[in-house]
């Protein structure tokens, strides 16, 4: 567990340093994820420990967003005056975006025959 946490923090740190150094338009942790993904292609880079720690962290990923969610409280006054256009935009746009993304992927899978028949459930 300790080794795995150290690996994750190291990749985050490298990601942060590189994004700052080269003014990249992505956050450090996201670059860290990309770098770790590439590192996993080296044989034996992925000890069972890293797999287990990643699984444990991601199992409760929802929890980690709670403090940021409560932060809405601090800026609530910013949406007071325009609550109607903002609420409608957020709700409808979320629904439309999920639908458009999923339908585009599905249509392209059918078009390119990229789907695997064995995994289809419905």
């Amino acid at each position: 567990m300790l080794n795995a946490i150290t690996v994750l923090l190291l990749f985050q740190l490298v990601g942060e340093v590189l994004t700052q150094l080269f003014h990249l338009p992505i956050p450090g942790p996201v670059l860290g994820m990309a770098l770790l993904f590439l590192a996993l292609f080296f044989p034996k880079f992925l000890p069972e420990e890293l797999r287990q720690t990643a699984q444990a962290l991601l199992q409760h990923l929802s929890l980690l967003f709670v403090p940021a969610g409560v932060g809405i409280l601090q800026h609530l006054h910013r949406v007071e005056r325009e609550w109607l256009p903002i609420t409608l935009a957020l709700v409808l746009s979320a629904v439309i975006t999920v639908a458009v993304t999923a339908l585009t992927v599905r249509a392209l899978v059918r078009l390119t025959h990229a789907g695997d028949r064995t995994e289809k459930r419905a």
Partner: protein, 240 residues
């Protein structure tokens, strides 16, 4: 009663209280969610956030005091994001097969998120600053705030729009996907990640590890694509 207030005031100065009430609120929210057969509208993040907001408002505790404790949970977002590489690696075969449809979905979703939000807010009389702050709302918070600043929006307003979009997409997204009968786990996760960044990814992990893996991929790629496309799009519109 005054004893209770004294104890609260004492505890409020240590990180213990903020950290503990965050965990208690989430564990309780998760319990309710599971008891209700994982009904999408009873999302544990939504329940925990509402409960904590009520507690802070009722006790007059400032958010900054609460965050002194909650930051220990918040900090784990970084290593957890890096950890997303692991499940993605285990879904490599599927990623190789699906990369082209996913790329198409990414570009369509990225543009739809920005155009639909800005269009709808404009239709209902949103101010220009609100429109510019809304445009990157489906992107993970640090990138979205950077994009908003570049466009001339208000980064702090964008931050709250991003978190709200995350929660809304996590709550409504699975309902929409069920209505459309989208059953493929990779497609479901990817759509949730494009729409609702990390909060959508967290929701996708509740469905399956594969959904979570593709959702994390979508979150990362959407940050990159939107950061590149949106300033370009704004430039074209302002000169169009």
């Amino acid at each position: 009663m005054t004893r209770f207030v004294d104890i609260w005031v004492y505890l409020a100065t240590t990180p213990l209280l903020g950290l503990t009430i965050t965990l208690v609120a989430y564990v309780a929210g998760d319990w309710i969610y599971r008891r209700a057969n994982m009904h999408p509208l009873l999302n544990p993040v939504l329940l925990a956030v509402l409960a904590l907001m009520a507690v802070l408002l009722a006790t007059g505790t400032p958010y900054t005091t609460y965050f002194e404790g909650a930051q220990f949970v918040h900090f784990l977002l970084g290593p957890a994001t890096v950890a997303l590489a692991v499940p993605l690696y285990f879904n490599l075969a599927k990623l190789r097969r699906l990369w082209l449809p996913l790329l198409g979905g990414l570009i369509a979703g990225s543009l739809t998120a920005a155009v639909s939000a800005v269009g709808i807010a404009w239709l209902f009389g949103g101010s220009k600053q609100t429109l510019l702050s809304l445009a990157p709302k489906s992107v993970t918070a640090p990138v979205a705030m950077g994009i908003a600043e570049k466009l001339g929006g208000l980064p702090s307003l964008t931050a709250i729009l991003v978190v709200s979009t995350g929660i809304l997409g996590a709550v409504l997204g699975p309902v929409v996907l069920n209505l459309l009968r989208v059953s493929d786990q990779a497609t479901r996760g990817f759509a949730l990640g494009v729409t609702s960044h990390g909060i959508g990814t967290a929701r996708a992990f509740q469905e399956s590890e594969q959904a979570g893996a593709f959702s994390g991929l979508a979150m990362g790629l959407n940050a990159l694509v939107t950061a590149l496309l949106l300033p370009l799009l704004a430039h074209l519109i302002s000169f169009g």
